[in-house]
């Protein structure tokens, strides 16, 4: 049975990202004849010489009219070995908003650079955002390698520079792979290129098919936000009381000791229920129903945690915000915070610093955070939340900041998660 890899792409304008995605879809035979016909017709209508594969991706009328990608698009392809969900994030319009969205669920991200230009500032910023969002693995596709005559030293230089940058951002070298490709011609995307005999690494698709799919991090303690209490009250199940949810981190087995937070009641997992019967274990990502040994007061919004490793339960914590709304953030803004299955009133008590886009440095005590800016803040919540540091547990370290008045999503919140340092994001000497 094949498994599932969620990935995101990121890149700047004109680096050929839509063409690369089109190439992956085309060479894995995920583009069907009628879609291709439509692309051919539309390309001819627009007076283009050849088919524009980016039209496969750009779905909205205004995108096609303007020839740009506005919004994250989700694409699907599969090989006998694996199924892929690809979040294609545009590089130029609101790049932080889109990259953050795509990266939040990605297990791997593909960054693109133009071999003729090498790493540019935006590549470094994208990598910093991907690192901040905890995407476990990076691939750098050095595109348009045909336009530098398949020159090994050009590729090697870019690969070395990027790997050093990624390591500075906290990646292990083994989690960063660089591939010389030509999306237009197809070199090393799906088919191995005859023009790069000096390259012994995997093709892009080979790597996507074989890279390990990790459930978030290893050795993370069990976390289970309670979504819903299942109480049938039917003649068949008069006293059934199960806590439904999706395992956010770690794993659980019957007999495990747990604590229900924030109240702190202790119990044992008596049973793990699913419609297929009882389970011997549930792991990260699985939707199950837990039956506890004791009669505790548990409801939606509570978090069931491993008893031997509890999250911090607090109403006052430092966090990194990626600000995604037009309305700017000012100190003492009153908002809602959604963490796990709990939504609580909160206010941002302090703006500690802002990651400056231009100088790639931090500004202390900024007056505001604006659209696409990233900053460190202090959050105070009306009710205590069981939080983990985002770098330790993505699911229980993440939260949304929501406008209490109109319900807009204002920011992606990461508990702790210090900003990338200047060393990590600057080009260096």
């Amino acid at each position: 049975m094949s498994d599932l890899l969620r990935l995101a792409t990121a890149g700047s304008v004109d680096d050929g990202k839509s063409t690369l995605v089109g190439r992956l879809l085309y060479d894995t035979k995920s583009v069907l004849a009628d879609q291709l016909d439509a692309v051919h017709r539309a390309s001819v209508d627009r007076g283009m010489a050849g088919p524009d594969l980016s039209l496969l991706v750009d779905g909205l009328r205004s995108e096609r009219e303007q020839g740009i990608t506005i919004d994250v698009a989700y694409r699907y392809f599969a090989t006998p070995r694996r199924s892929f969900v690809l979040a294609d994030t545009p590089g130029h319009v609101q790049y932080t908003r889109n990259t953050v969205t795509g990266a939040s669920t990605a297990q791997l991200a593909i960054l693109l650079v133009d071999a003729r230009k090498g790493l540019i500032e935006q590549t470094r910023r994208h990598a910093a955002v991907l690192a901040l969002l905890g995407v476990p693995r990076l691939v750098l596709a050095v595109n348009k390698i045909d336009l530098v005559d398949y020159d090994e030293s050009t590729f090697a230089l870019i690969a070395k520079e990027f790997t050093a940058h990624a390591v500075a951002l906290g990646y292990a070298e083994a989690d960063v792979v660089t591939v010389p490709v030509s999306a237009l011609v197809g070199d090393n995307v799906v088919e191995r290129s005859a023009h790069t005999p000096w390259y012994s690494g995997p093709t892009l698709l080979d790597h996507l098919e074989t890279v390990p799919v990790d459930a978030d991090a290893h050795n993370v303690p069990f976390r289970f936000p309670v979504q819903y209490v299942i109480r049938p009250r039917t003649p068949e199940y008069p006293d059934y009381r199960g806590y439904a949810g999706q395992v956010a981190a770690g794993s659980v087995r019957p007999g495990d000791e747990i604590v229900v937070l924030p109240a702190g009641g202790r119990s044992l997992v008596e049973r793990i229920d699913s419609p297929d019967g009882e389970l011997a274990e549930a792991t990260s990502g699985q939707s199950v129903t837990l039956i506890l040994s004791h009669d505790l007061d548990v409801s939606r919004g509570d978090l069931i945690s491993a008893a031997d490793s509890l999250p911090l339960v607090t109403d006052d914590f430092a966090a990194t915000l990626c600000w995604l709304a037009d309305k700017e953030l000012r100190p003492n803004a009153r908002v809602l915070v959604k963490h796990g299955t709990k939504t609580t009133p909160a206010f941002v008590s302090e703006l500690i610093s802002r990651f400056d886009e231009q100088s790639l440095s931090s500004v202390e005590l900024p007056e505001s955070l604006r659209l696409n800016e990233i900053g460190q803040v202090r959050v105070r919540t009306a009710e205590p939340l069981p939080i983990d540091d985002y770098t330790a547990s993505r699911r229980t370290g993440a939260f949304l900041v929501i406008d209490a008045a109109d319900g807009t999503t204002l920011a992606a919140g990461l508990v702790g998660a210090p900003l990338p340092t200047r060393d990590a994001v600057s080009p260096g000497p």
Partner: protein
């Protein structure tokens, strides 16, 4: 005790869909599931049943009935509803045409007419969350759709004002009069749906499997004879072995030539197909490059 480690593709998609159903149950007051008896809505219902087992599904079902139905599908719809003891509401396009609130289109296609009865039904019943079986792989505009998709009080989709969707933290906040469309199958492909139907042994209307039927050719599609006005002059009926890849309004849903009489054969056929299911079978999506986007903006599924 069984050990089922559902970390495979279908297991991951199933867990994601179940999580979405439970979020809606936890956060909304009046959800409803759109249910037509087609394969996607049947899978949707199957997932809802699994999400709340052993409790009953805590939502009613809504069918927006174009009046151009396949008898086998309505029969199947009613059988499923009865067997699970569910409550089904039906909003009928025909009623709207009969009393003049809607006019029949000159081409006889009724799919686009579903929007008004759907929106009226949402308003009358004060539904705040509406589950649909839409998938992002179906069509380019759908590829940009959120799992939780906010609709204004006119039911409209505003693609440029969509909320960013982060992690698995869905934001279902809405103001009075607004509602949220929810798509638990967003990340499924047509082949995933069929593989899941096989794995879970889910029953479908018989017309999804190859059978003999009187059909006529229009715009390159095999349409079935029926009260929706076909065949016209110049179109001739033929008896062919066909099956349906999608089931919608009879006036614009085409059949495909097929010999696939069981689920394994259907999966093999879908895997080998060189046409998308909408491209092969939906006249209403062929009208323009942005036909689906335009319908969605107006409040369509």
């Amino acid at each position: 005790m069984t050990v089922i480690r559902k970390t495979d593709n279908l297991g991951a998609l199933e867990s994601e869909a179940i999580h979405i159903f439970r979020e809606v149950a936890g956060e909304f007051d009046r959800p409803v599931i759109l249910f037509s008896g087609g394969k996607d809505s049947t899978v949707l219902l199957h997932l809802a049943i699994r999400a709340f087992w052993p409790a009953p599904v805590p939502f009613p079902l809504l069918h927006v009935d174009t009046g151009h139905n396949f008898g086998e599908v309505i029969e199947f719809r009613d059988k499923v509803v009865a067997s699970y003891g569910l409550r089904l509401l039906v909003a009928k396009v025909q009623d709207y045409i009969d009393d003049g609130r809607l006019a029949e289109r000159t081409d006889g296609i009724r799919n686009p007419l579903q929007t008004t009865p759907l929106l009226d039904s949402i308003t009358e019943n004060r539904f705040d969350a509406v589950f649909g079986g839409g998938r992002r792989d179906e069509e380019r505009a759908r590829a940009k759709e959120r799992i939780f998709s906010l609709r204004n009080s006119f039911g409209q989709w505003e693609p440029r004002r969509q909320r960013p969707e982060l992690w698995n933290l869905y934001n279902g906040r809405h103001r009075p009069g607004e509602h949220v469309r929810v798509f638990p199958l967003s990340n499924w492909t047509e082949l995933d749906v069929w593989n899941y139907i096989a794995r879970e042994n889910i029953e479908l209307p018989a017309i999804y499997y190859a059978h003999e039927r009187n059909v006529y050719l229009r715009d390159g599609m095999w349409l079935a004879e029926g009260p929706w006005g076909g065949p016209r002059s110049g179109e001739s009926l033929e008896r062919r072995m066909v099956r349906y890849r999608t089931v919608g309004d009879g006036s614009c849903t085409g059949a495909v030539d097929s010999t696939a009489t069981d689920i394994e054969q259907v999966i093999a056929e879908v895997a080998a197909s060189r046409l998308t299911e909408r491209g092969a079978t939906r006249a209403d999506d062929r009208m323009s490059e942005a036909a689906m986007e335009d319908r969605k903006r107006e409040g369509y599924f």
